[in-house]
Protein backbone atom coordinates (compact mmCIF):
# COMPACT_ATOMS: atom_id res chain seq x y z
CA UNK A 1 0.00 0.00 0.00
CA UNK A 2 1.11 3.56 -0.70
CA UNK A 3 1.75 6.12 1.96
CA UNK A 4 -0.79 8.94 1.92
CA UNK A 5 0.88 10.99 4.64
CA UNK A 6 4.55 11.13 5.36
CA UNK A 7 6.36 13.27 7.91
CA UNK A 8 10.11 13.40 8.00
CA UNK A 9 12.12 15.30 10.58
CA UNK A 10 9.25 17.53 11.66
CA UNK A 11 9.61 19.71 14.75
CA UNK A 12 7.37 22.41 16.10
CA UNK A 13 8.03 24.83 18.92
CA UNK A 14 5.17 27.08 20.01
CA UNK A 15 6.13 30.72 20.45
CA UNK A 16 7.61 31.37 23.90
CA UNK A 17 7.71 27.64 24.70
CA UNK A 18 10.97 26.25 26.07
CA UNK A 19 10.61 22.76 24.67
CA UNK A 20 9.36 21.81 21.21
CA UNK A 21 5.79 20.39 21.22
CA UNK A 22 6.86 18.04 18.44
CA UNK A 23 10.48 17.00 18.39
CA UNK A 24 11.93 15.79 15.10
CA UNK A 25 9.39 13.14 14.29
CA UNK A 26 9.06 11.01 11.18
CA UNK A 27 6.28 8.59 10.29
CA UNK A 28 4.20 7.28 7.41
CA UNK A 29 0.49 6.57 7.21
CA UNK A 30 -0.77 4.08 4.66
CA UNK A 31 -3.58 4.92 2.28
CA UNK A 32 -6.92 3.47 3.36
CA UNK A 33 -5.73 2.56 6.85
CA UNK A 34 -7.14 3.50 10.25
CA UNK A 35 -4.39 4.92 12.40
CA UNK A 36 -4.82 5.79 16.05
CA UNK A 37 -2.53 8.34 17.67
CA UNK A 38 -2.38 7.88 21.42
CA UNK A 39 -0.53 9.60 24.21
CA UNK A 40 -1.20 11.56 27.38
CA UNK A 41 -2.43 15.17 27.44
CA UNK A 42 0.10 17.57 25.99
CA UNK A 43 2.05 14.83 24.21
CA UNK A 44 1.56 16.63 20.90
CA UNK A 45 -1.29 14.60 19.41
CA UNK A 46 -3.43 17.52 18.31
CA UNK A 47 -0.36 19.43 17.14
CA UNK A 48 0.27 16.67 14.60
CA UNK A 49 -3.23 17.01 13.10
CA UNK A 50 -2.79 20.73 12.76
CA UNK A 51 0.55 20.19 11.04
CA UNK A 52 -0.99 17.80 8.53
CA UNK A 53 -3.33 20.41 7.05
CA UNK A 54 -1.10 23.41 7.50
CA UNK A 55 -2.93 25.09 10.37
CA UNK A 56 0.45 25.08 12.09
CA UNK A 57 3.74 25.58 10.33
CA UNK A 58 6.70 23.43 11.42
CA UNK A 59 10.00 24.91 12.57
CA UNK A 60 12.24 25.82 9.68
CA UNK A 61 14.68 23.08 8.90
CA UNK A 62 16.08 22.02 5.55
CA UNK A 63 15.17 18.31 5.94
CA UNK A 64 11.63 18.89 7.14
CA UNK A 65 9.11 17.41 4.74
CA UNK A 66 5.36 16.97 5.19
CA UNK A 67 3.73 15.23 2.27
CA UNK A 68 0.00 14.64 1.95
CA UNK A 69 -1.32 12.58 -0.97
CA UNK A 70 1.87 13.22 -2.91
CA UNK A 71 1.70 16.98 -2.36
CA UNK A 72 4.53 18.62 -0.47
CA UNK A 73 2.96 21.00 2.04
CA UNK A 74 3.96 24.63 1.47
CA UNK A 75 2.33 28.06 1.39
CA UNK A 76 1.26 27.47 -2.21
CA UNK A 77 -0.22 24.02 -1.69
CA UNK A 78 -1.89 24.47 1.68
CA UNK A 79 -5.39 24.87 0.20
CA UNK A 80 -4.90 21.84 -2.06
CA UNK A 81 -3.95 19.86 1.05
CA UNK A 82 -6.95 21.15 2.99
CA UNK A 83 -9.19 19.92 0.15
CA UNK A 84 -7.88 16.43 0.90
CA UNK A 85 -8.04 16.50 4.69
CA UNK A 86 -11.18 16.85 6.81
CA UNK A 87 -10.95 17.26 10.56
CA UNK A 88 -13.70 16.50 13.06
CA UNK A 89 -12.84 18.46 16.19
CA UNK A 90 -13.53 17.70 19.82
CA UNK A 91 -16.21 20.26 20.70
CA UNK A 92 -19.39 19.65 18.65
CA UNK A 93 -20.63 23.22 19.17
CA UNK A 94 -17.47 25.07 18.28
CA UNK A 95 -17.21 23.67 14.75
CA UNK A 96 -20.83 24.19 13.73
CA UNK A 97 -20.65 27.25 11.47
CA UNK A 98 -24.02 27.24 9.70
CA UNK A 99 -27.33 28.36 11.16
CA UNK A 100 -28.99 25.06 10.23
CA UNK A 101 -27.79 21.54 9.42
CA UNK A 102 -28.05 22.15 5.66
CA UNK A 103 -26.20 25.47 5.89
CA UNK A 104 -23.39 23.89 7.88
CA UNK A 105 -22.95 21.00 5.46
CA UNK A 106 -22.87 23.54 2.62
CA UNK A 107 -20.16 25.66 4.28
CA UNK A 108 -17.18 23.70 2.87
CA UNK A 109 -18.79 23.64 -0.58
CA UNK A 110 -19.44 27.39 -0.50
CA UNK A 111 -15.78 27.95 0.39
CA UNK A 112 -14.75 26.00 -2.68
CA UNK A 113 -17.12 27.93 -4.93
CA UNK A 114 -19.22 24.89 -5.93
CA UNK A 115 -22.17 26.10 -8.07
CA UNK A 116 -25.47 26.19 -6.19
CA UNK A 117 -27.29 23.61 -8.38
CA UNK A 118 -24.65 20.98 -7.61
CA UNK A 119 -24.51 22.07 -4.00
CA UNK A 120 -28.22 21.35 -3.38
CA UNK A 121 -27.72 17.77 -4.52
CA UNK A 122 -24.44 17.16 -2.67
CA UNK A 123 -25.80 18.63 0.58
CA UNK A 124 -28.88 16.37 0.48
CA UNK A 125 -26.81 13.28 -0.27
CA UNK A 126 -24.27 14.04 2.45
CA UNK A 127 -26.97 14.63 5.07
CA UNK A 128 -28.75 11.42 4.02
CA UNK A 129 -25.43 9.51 4.26
CA UNK A 130 -25.09 10.32 7.95
CA UNK A 131 -28.78 9.63 8.60
CA UNK A 132 -29.76 13.20 9.50
CA UNK A 133 -32.28 13.91 6.73
CA UNK A 134 -35.16 14.57 9.13
CA UNK A 135 -33.03 17.27 10.80
CA UNK A 136 -32.06 19.03 7.57
CA UNK A 137 -33.47 22.38 8.69
CA UNK A 138 -32.81 21.94 12.41
CA UNK A 139 -30.79 24.52 14.29
CA UNK A 140 -27.70 23.35 16.22
CA UNK A 141 -29.24 24.25 19.58
CA UNK A 142 -31.88 21.56 19.00
CA UNK A 143 -29.35 18.80 18.27
CA UNK A 144 -27.45 16.49 20.61
CA UNK A 145 -23.64 16.38 20.65
CA UNK A 146 -23.64 13.14 18.67
CA UNK A 147 -25.98 14.61 16.06
CA UNK A 148 -23.76 17.67 15.70
CA UNK A 149 -20.74 15.42 15.14
CA UNK A 150 -22.73 13.57 12.46
CA UNK A 151 -23.36 16.91 10.77
CA UNK A 152 -19.65 17.74 11.03
CA UNK A 153 -18.86 14.43 9.30
CA UNK A 154 -21.45 15.16 6.60
CA UNK A 155 -19.89 18.59 6.02
CA UNK A 156 -16.49 16.97 5.61
CA UNK A 157 -17.67 14.15 3.34
CA UNK A 158 -19.46 16.69 1.13
CA UNK A 159 -16.10 18.00 -0.11
CA UNK A 160 -14.83 14.47 -0.78
CA UNK A 161 -11.56 14.38 1.17
CA UNK A 162 -9.08 11.49 1.11
CA UNK A 163 -8.30 11.69 4.79
CA UNK A 164 -10.51 12.16 7.83
CA UNK A 165 -8.94 13.11 11.12
CA UNK A 166 -10.95 12.55 14.29
CA UNK A 167 -9.36 14.92 16.79
CA UNK A 168 -10.82 13.44 19.97
CA UNK A 169 -14.10 13.76 18.11
CA UNK A 170 -15.95 11.39 20.41
CA UNK A 171 -14.51 12.47 23.75
CA UNK A 172 -17.42 14.79 24.59
CA UNK A 173 -20.09 12.26 23.66
CA UNK A 174 -21.91 9.66 25.74
CA UNK A 175 -21.02 5.98 25.12
CA UNK A 176 -23.89 5.48 22.66
CA UNK A 177 -23.03 8.60 20.69
CA UNK A 178 -19.39 7.51 20.66
CA UNK A 179 -20.22 4.06 19.33
CA UNK A 180 -22.53 5.35 16.62
CA UNK A 181 -20.07 8.00 15.42
CA UNK A 182 -17.25 5.46 15.19
CA UNK A 183 -19.38 2.95 13.31
CA UNK A 184 -20.50 5.73 10.96
CA UNK A 185 -16.89 6.67 10.22
CA UNK A 186 -16.02 3.00 9.66
CA UNK A 187 -18.89 2.67 7.21
CA UNK A 188 -17.83 5.84 5.36
CA UNK A 189 -14.21 4.69 5.35
CA UNK A 190 -15.14 1.43 3.65
CA UNK A 191 -17.50 3.14 1.21
CA UNK A 192 -15.21 5.97 0.10
CA UNK A 193 -11.82 4.33 0.65
CA UNK A 194 -10.84 6.95 3.19
CA UNK A 195 -7.77 7.08 5.36
CA UNK A 196 -8.73 7.70 8.99
CA UNK A 197 -6.50 9.16 11.66
CA UNK A 198 -8.00 9.05 15.10
CA UNK A 199 -6.55 10.99 17.99
CA UNK A 200 -7.94 9.34 21.03
CA UNK A 201 -7.80 8.67 24.74
CA UNK A 202 -10.17 5.77 24.31
CA UNK A 203 -7.96 2.74 24.39
CA UNK A 204 -10.73 0.42 23.24
CA UNK A 205 -11.12 2.55 20.15
CA UNK A 206 -7.36 2.50 19.48
CA UNK A 207 -7.36 -1.25 19.84
CA UNK A 208 -9.55 -1.56 16.72
CA UNK A 209 -7.15 0.48 14.56
CA UNK A 210 -4.85 -0.99 11.90
CA UNK A 211 -1.89 0.97 13.14
CA UNK A 212 -1.05 2.85 16.33
CA UNK A 213 1.37 5.72 16.86
CA UNK A 214 2.35 6.24 20.48
CA UNK A 215 3.45 9.76 21.37
CA UNK A 216 5.21 10.86 24.51
CA UNK A 217 6.35 14.46 25.05
CA UNK A 218 6.49 15.23 21.35
CA UNK A 219 8.41 12.10 20.37
CA UNK A 220 7.09 8.93 18.75
CA UNK A 221 8.02 6.12 21.11
CA UNK A 222 6.43 3.33 19.13
CA UNK A 223 4.43 2.63 16.01
CA UNK A 224 2.84 -0.67 15.10
CA UNK A 225 -0.19 -2.90 15.04
CA UNK A 226 -2.37 -2.88 18.20
CA UNK A 227 -1.33 -6.38 19.24
CA UNK A 228 2.37 -5.47 19.31
CA UNK A 229 1.72 -2.16 21.08
CA UNK A 230 -0.64 -3.42 23.77
CA UNK A 231 1.55 -6.41 24.61
CA UNK A 232 3.99 -3.95 26.14
CA UNK A 233 2.22 -3.25 29.38
CA UNK A 234 5.09 -1.04 30.63
CA UNK A 235 4.86 1.17 27.53
CA UNK A 236 1.14 1.68 27.98
CA UNK A 237 1.63 2.47 31.63
CA UNK A 238 4.40 4.91 30.81
CA UNK A 239 2.13 7.07 28.71
CA UNK A 240 -0.53 7.04 31.41
CA UNK A 241 -3.15 4.96 29.65
CA UNK A 242 -4.78 1.75 30.66
CA UNK A 243 -4.53 -1.30 28.43
CA UNK A 244 -7.71 -2.30 26.61
CA UNK A 245 -10.02 -4.49 28.64
CA UNK A 246 -9.27 -7.74 26.81
CA UNK A 247 -5.48 -7.29 27.14
CA UNK A 248 -5.86 -6.71 30.85
CA UNK A 249 -8.03 -9.82 31.02
CA UNK A 250 -5.50 -11.91 29.08
CA UNK A 251 -2.64 -10.80 31.32
CA UNK A 252 -4.65 -11.78 34.40
CA UNK A 253 -5.57 -15.14 32.86
CA UNK A 254 -1.92 -15.85 32.02
CA UNK A 255 -0.89 -14.88 35.53
CA UNK A 256 -3.35 -17.48 36.75
CA UNK A 257 -1.78 -20.19 34.62
CA UNK A 258 -4.21 -20.25 31.72
CA UNK A 259 -2.37 -20.41 28.44
CA UNK A 260 -3.66 -17.82 26.00
CA UNK A 261 -2.09 -17.89 22.52
CA UNK A 262 -0.51 -14.65 21.30
CA UNK A 263 -2.54 -14.59 18.11
CA UNK A 264 -5.75 -13.64 19.92
CA UNK A 265 -6.62 -10.01 19.23
CA UNK A 266 -10.31 -9.43 19.78
CA UNK A 267 -12.93 -10.01 22.40
CA UNK A 268 -14.77 -12.46 20.10
CA UNK A 269 -11.66 -14.56 19.52
CA UNK A 270 -10.91 -14.67 23.21
CA UNK A 271 -14.49 -15.64 23.99
CA UNK A 272 -14.41 -18.45 21.44
CA UNK A 273 -11.04 -19.67 22.70
CA UNK A 274 -12.20 -19.71 26.31
CA UNK A 275 -15.38 -21.61 25.37
CA UNK A 276 -13.33 -24.25 23.53
CA UNK A 277 -10.94 -24.44 26.46
CA UNK A 278 -13.88 -24.96 28.73
CA UNK A 279 -15.08 -27.89 26.58
CA UNK A 280 -11.64 -29.54 26.67
CA UNK A 281 -11.37 -29.38 30.43
Amino acid sequence: MDNIISFSNVSLTYPEAKRPAINNISFNIKKGSWTAIIGHNGSGKSTITRLINGLLIPDKDSDTIIEVDGIKLSDDTVWQVRDRVGIVFQNPDNQFVGATVADDVAFGLENRGVPREQMLDIVDKSIANVGMMEYKFAEPSNLSGGQKQRVAIAGILAVKPQIIILDEATSMLDPNGRKSILSLVRKMQAKNNLTVISITHDIDEAEKADDIIVLDDGVIIDQGAPETIFKQADLIEKIGLEEPFIYRLMTKLRENGIDIPNKIKSQEELLEYLCQLNLKM
Binding site: R50, N53, L55, W79, R82, D83, V85, G86, I87, F89, N91, D93, N94, Q95, F96, V97, G98, A99, T100, A102, D103, A106, F107, G108, L109, E110, N111, R112, G113, V114, P115, R116, M119, L120, V123, E139, P140, S141, G155, I156, V159
Partner: protein, 265 residues
Protein backbone atom coordinates in the same frame (compact mmCIF):
# COMPACT_ATOMS: atom_id res chain seq x y z
CA UNK B 1 -34.70 29.08 27.97
CA UNK B 2 -32.27 27.98 25.28
CA UNK B 3 -35.02 28.58 22.70
CA UNK B 4 -34.58 32.34 23.04
CA UNK B 5 -33.67 33.99 19.77
CA UNK B 6 -33.24 37.61 18.85
CA UNK B 7 -36.55 38.98 17.66
CA UNK B 8 -38.56 35.98 18.89
CA UNK B 9 -39.45 34.41 15.56
CA UNK B 10 -42.67 32.38 15.74
CA UNK B 11 -43.08 29.73 13.02
CA UNK B 12 -46.20 30.03 10.88
CA UNK B 13 -47.34 29.97 7.27
CA UNK B 14 -49.71 32.89 6.74
CA UNK B 15 -49.38 35.34 3.86
CA UNK B 16 -46.73 37.50 5.54
CA UNK B 17 -44.48 34.50 6.18
CA UNK B 18 -44.33 33.85 2.45
CA UNK B 19 -42.99 37.32 1.69
CA UNK B 20 -39.32 37.83 1.01
CA UNK B 21 -37.40 39.13 4.07
CA UNK B 22 -35.87 41.89 1.93
CA UNK B 23 -39.31 43.24 1.06
CA UNK B 24 -40.45 43.04 4.67
CA UNK B 25 -37.35 44.77 5.97
CA UNK B 26 -37.62 47.54 3.38
CA UNK B 27 -41.34 48.01 4.04
CA UNK B 28 -40.73 48.23 7.79
CA UNK B 29 -37.96 50.79 7.41
CA UNK B 30 -40.01 52.85 4.94
CA UNK B 31 -43.06 52.64 7.21
CA UNK B 32 -41.08 54.32 9.98
CA UNK B 33 -40.43 57.27 7.65
CA UNK B 34 -43.73 57.44 5.82
CA UNK B 35 -45.77 57.41 9.03
CA UNK B 36 -44.67 61.03 9.40
CA UNK B 37 -46.77 61.86 6.32
CA UNK B 38 -49.85 61.41 8.51
CA UNK B 39 -50.81 64.74 10.04
CA UNK B 40 -54.58 64.70 10.57
CA UNK B 41 -57.29 62.39 11.87
CA UNK B 42 -58.07 60.89 8.47
CA UNK B 43 -54.47 59.97 7.65
CA UNK B 44 -53.87 58.57 11.12
CA UNK B 45 -57.04 56.49 10.84
CA UNK B 46 -55.85 55.17 7.46
CA UNK B 47 -52.46 54.21 8.92
CA UNK B 48 -54.10 52.50 11.90
CA UNK B 49 -56.45 50.62 9.59
CA UNK B 50 -53.61 49.45 7.31
CA UNK B 51 -51.55 48.36 10.31
CA UNK B 52 -54.42 46.40 11.83
CA UNK B 53 -54.97 44.57 8.54
CA UNK B 54 -51.24 43.76 8.40
CA UNK B 55 -51.34 42.49 11.97
CA UNK B 56 -54.41 40.34 11.30
CA UNK B 57 -52.74 38.93 8.17
CA UNK B 58 -50.00 37.39 10.33
CA UNK B 59 -52.68 35.20 12.00
CA UNK B 60 -50.67 35.43 15.21
CA UNK B 61 -52.34 35.68 18.58
CA UNK B 62 -52.73 39.27 19.82
CA UNK B 63 -50.95 38.22 23.01
CA UNK B 64 -47.56 37.86 21.25
CA UNK B 65 -47.86 41.33 19.74
CA UNK B 66 -48.75 42.73 23.13
CA UNK B 67 -45.55 41.08 24.45
CA UNK B 68 -43.70 43.12 21.85
CA UNK B 69 -45.14 46.43 23.07
CA UNK B 70 -45.11 45.71 26.80
CA UNK B 71 -41.43 46.49 27.50
CA UNK B 72 -41.82 49.88 25.79
CA UNK B 73 -45.21 50.88 27.17
CA UNK B 74 -43.80 53.29 29.76
CA UNK B 75 -41.61 54.97 27.19
CA UNK B 76 -44.65 55.44 24.95
CA UNK B 77 -46.69 56.94 27.80
CA UNK B 78 -43.83 59.15 28.92
CA UNK B 79 -43.31 60.58 25.43
CA UNK B 80 -47.04 61.17 25.05
CA UNK B 81 -47.22 62.91 28.44
CA UNK B 82 -44.33 65.21 27.48
CA UNK B 83 -46.30 66.21 24.39
CA UNK B 84 -49.44 66.65 26.44
CA UNK B 85 -47.96 68.93 29.11
CA UNK B 86 -45.39 70.92 27.16
CA UNK B 87 -47.11 71.67 23.84
CA UNK B 88 -48.85 75.05 23.82
CA UNK B 89 -51.23 76.52 21.27
CA UNK B 90 -54.92 76.37 20.48
CA UNK B 91 -57.33 76.46 23.41
CA UNK B 92 -55.71 76.20 26.83
CA UNK B 93 -57.74 74.00 29.20
CA UNK B 94 -55.51 73.88 32.27
CA UNK B 95 -52.28 75.48 33.41
CA UNK B 96 -50.03 75.08 36.46
CA UNK B 97 -46.48 76.54 36.60
CA UNK B 98 -44.74 75.21 33.47
CA UNK B 99 -47.36 72.52 32.74
CA UNK B 100 -50.10 73.30 30.24
CA UNK B 101 -52.84 71.20 28.72
CA UNK B 102 -53.91 72.69 25.43
CA UNK B 103 -55.88 71.44 22.44
CA UNK B 104 -52.66 71.23 20.39
CA UNK B 105 -50.95 69.30 23.18
CA UNK B 106 -53.89 66.90 23.39
CA UNK B 107 -53.90 66.05 19.67
CA UNK B 108 -50.09 65.88 19.56
CA UNK B 109 -50.06 63.48 22.50
CA UNK B 110 -52.56 61.19 20.76
CA UNK B 111 -50.61 61.37 17.46
CA UNK B 112 -47.32 60.54 19.12
CA UNK B 113 -48.95 57.68 20.99
CA UNK B 114 -50.38 56.22 17.75
CA UNK B 115 -47.15 56.74 15.81
CA UNK B 116 -44.97 55.12 18.43
CA UNK B 117 -47.30 52.16 18.95
CA UNK B 118 -47.70 51.50 15.22
CA UNK B 119 -43.95 51.60 14.57
CA UNK B 120 -43.36 49.05 17.30
CA UNK B 121 -46.25 46.89 16.13
CA UNK B 122 -45.08 46.82 12.51
CA UNK B 123 -41.48 46.06 13.51
CA UNK B 124 -42.80 43.29 15.74
CA UNK B 125 -44.81 41.90 12.84
CA UNK B 126 -41.60 41.71 10.85
CA UNK B 127 -39.45 40.10 13.54
CA UNK B 128 -42.17 37.62 14.51
CA UNK B 129 -42.65 36.41 10.95
CA UNK B 130 -39.03 36.46 9.72
CA UNK B 131 -36.24 34.17 10.89
CA UNK B 132 -33.26 36.09 12.30
CA UNK B 133 -31.09 34.47 9.65
CA UNK B 134 -33.40 35.76 6.92
CA UNK B 135 -33.21 39.23 8.44
CA UNK B 136 -29.41 38.96 8.33
CA UNK B 137 -29.63 37.96 4.65
CA UNK B 138 -31.95 40.88 3.95
CA UNK B 139 -29.56 43.27 5.70
CA UNK B 140 -26.73 41.95 3.55
CA UNK B 141 -28.78 42.69 0.45
CA UNK B 142 -29.62 46.14 1.75
CA UNK B 143 -25.95 46.85 2.46
CA UNK B 144 -24.73 45.41 -0.85
CA UNK B 145 -24.37 48.83 -2.58
CA UNK B 146 -21.65 49.56 -0.01
CA UNK B 147 -19.47 47.00 -1.83
CA UNK B 148 -18.76 49.79 -4.30
CA UNK B 149 -16.89 51.66 -1.58
CA UNK B 150 -15.05 48.47 -0.55
CA UNK B 151 -17.12 47.64 2.53
CA UNK B 152 -16.69 43.86 3.12
CA UNK B 153 -20.43 43.18 3.06
CA UNK B 154 -20.06 39.37 2.75
CA UNK B 155 -17.84 39.23 5.80
CA UNK B 156 -20.22 41.41 7.79
CA UNK B 157 -23.07 39.11 6.76
CA UNK B 158 -21.09 36.01 7.82
CA UNK B 159 -20.30 37.65 11.15
CA UNK B 160 -24.00 38.45 11.65
CA UNK B 161 -25.13 34.93 10.86
CA UNK B 162 -22.45 33.39 13.11
CA UNK B 163 -23.42 35.78 15.91
CA UNK B 164 -27.06 34.70 15.58
CA UNK B 165 -26.06 31.05 15.45
CA UNK B 166 -24.09 31.38 18.71
CA UNK B 167 -26.73 33.19 20.77
CA UNK B 168 -28.25 29.94 22.11
CA UNK B 169 -24.78 28.42 22.60
CA UNK B 170 -23.65 31.38 24.72
CA UNK B 171 -26.92 31.20 26.58
CA UNK B 172 -26.25 27.58 27.48
CA UNK B 173 -22.81 28.58 28.67
CA UNK B 174 -24.29 31.31 30.89
CA UNK B 175 -26.65 28.76 32.44
CA UNK B 176 -23.78 26.34 33.00
CA UNK B 177 -21.64 29.00 34.66
CA UNK B 178 -24.58 30.19 36.77
CA UNK B 179 -25.20 26.67 37.99
CA UNK B 180 -21.51 26.21 38.73
CA UNK B 181 -21.48 29.45 40.77
CA UNK B 182 -24.76 28.58 42.48
CA UNK B 183 -23.37 25.23 43.58
CA UNK B 184 -20.63 27.19 45.35
CA UNK B 185 -23.16 29.35 47.14
CA UNK B 186 -23.61 32.29 44.77
CA UNK B 187 -27.05 33.91 44.87
CA UNK B 188 -28.40 35.60 41.75
CA UNK B 189 -32.05 36.03 42.63
CA UNK B 190 -32.22 37.96 45.88
CA UNK B 191 -30.99 41.28 47.21
CA UNK B 192 -31.22 44.77 45.82
CA UNK B 193 -30.17 46.06 42.45
CA UNK B 194 -26.55 46.66 43.44
CA UNK B 195 -26.18 43.25 45.06
CA UNK B 196 -27.58 41.57 41.96
CA UNK B 197 -25.35 43.59 39.65
CA UNK B 198 -22.35 42.51 41.73
CA UNK B 199 -23.40 38.87 41.38
CA UNK B 200 -23.21 39.26 37.59
CA UNK B 201 -19.47 40.06 37.55
CA UNK B 202 -18.34 36.51 38.40
CA UNK B 203 -20.50 35.35 35.49
CA UNK B 204 -18.98 37.68 32.94
CA UNK B 205 -15.33 36.73 33.37
CA UNK B 206 -15.74 32.99 32.72
CA UNK B 207 -18.24 33.73 29.96
CA UNK B 208 -15.75 36.05 28.29
CA UNK B 209 -12.99 33.45 28.48
CA UNK B 210 -15.18 30.66 27.16
CA UNK B 211 -16.40 32.83 24.28
CA UNK B 212 -12.81 33.50 23.31
CA UNK B 213 -12.09 29.78 23.36
CA UNK B 214 -15.17 29.16 21.24
CA UNK B 215 -14.04 31.82 18.78
CA UNK B 216 -10.56 30.30 18.49
CA UNK B 217 -11.99 26.79 17.97
CA UNK B 218 -14.46 28.09 15.43
CA UNK B 219 -11.84 29.94 13.40
CA UNK B 220 -9.63 26.83 13.36
CA UNK B 221 -12.58 24.75 12.17
CA UNK B 222 -13.52 27.30 9.51
CA UNK B 223 -9.98 27.49 8.20
CA UNK B 224 -9.59 23.74 8.04
CA UNK B 225 -12.88 23.58 6.14
CA UNK B 226 -11.40 25.79 3.48
CA UNK B 227 -12.64 29.27 4.42
CA UNK B 228 -10.34 31.93 3.05
CA UNK B 229 -12.35 35.11 2.86
CA UNK B 230 -15.31 35.82 0.65
CA UNK B 231 -13.49 35.66 -2.67
CA UNK B 232 -14.72 32.85 -4.90
CA UNK B 233 -17.35 31.68 -2.46
CA UNK B 234 -20.65 30.42 -3.77
CA UNK B 235 -23.93 30.62 -1.87
CA UNK B 236 -26.18 27.84 -0.64
CA UNK B 237 -28.97 30.03 0.66
CA UNK B 238 -30.51 32.49 -1.77
CA UNK B 239 -33.53 34.77 -1.59
CA UNK B 240 -36.17 34.78 -4.32
CA UNK B 241 -38.84 37.38 -5.03
CA UNK B 242 -42.35 35.99 -5.47
CA UNK B 243 -45.87 37.24 -6.15
CA UNK B 244 -46.33 37.73 -2.40
CA UNK B 245 -43.75 40.52 -2.51
CA UNK B 246 -45.83 42.20 -5.17
CA UNK B 247 -48.76 42.16 -2.71
CA UNK B 248 -46.45 43.65 -0.10
CA UNK B 249 -45.31 46.38 -2.46
CA UNK B 250 -48.79 47.28 -3.78
CA UNK B 251 -50.20 47.38 -0.24
CA UNK B 252 -47.46 49.76 0.80
CA UNK B 253 -47.79 51.95 -2.30
CA UNK B 254 -51.55 52.16 -1.69
CA UNK B 255 -50.95 53.29 1.91
CA UNK B 256 -48.44 55.97 0.89
CA UNK B 257 -50.75 57.13 -1.94
CA UNK B 258 -53.72 57.52 0.43
CA UNK B 259 -51.54 59.36 2.96
CA UNK B 260 -50.34 61.78 0.27
CA UNK B 261 -53.91 62.46 -0.89
CA UNK B 262 -55.54 62.98 2.51
CA UNK B 263 -52.81 64.72 4.48
CA UNK B 264 -53.20 68.38 5.30
CA UNK B 265 -50.98 70.42 3.02
Amino acid sequence: MSKIIIGRYIPGDSLIYKMDPRGKLLATICFIFFIFLANNWITYSITVFFSIVAILATRLRIKVLWDGIKPLIWLIFFTSLLQLFFTTGGTTYWQWTIFTISSYGLTNAVYVFIRFTLIILISTVMTLTTMPLEIADAMEWLLSPLRLIKVPVDKIALVMSIALRFVPTLFDQVLKIMNAQRSRGADFSSGGLIKRAKAIAPLLVPLFISSLETAIDLSTAMESRGYRGSQGRSRYRILKWSKYDLYNLSYFVLLVGLLLVFRTH
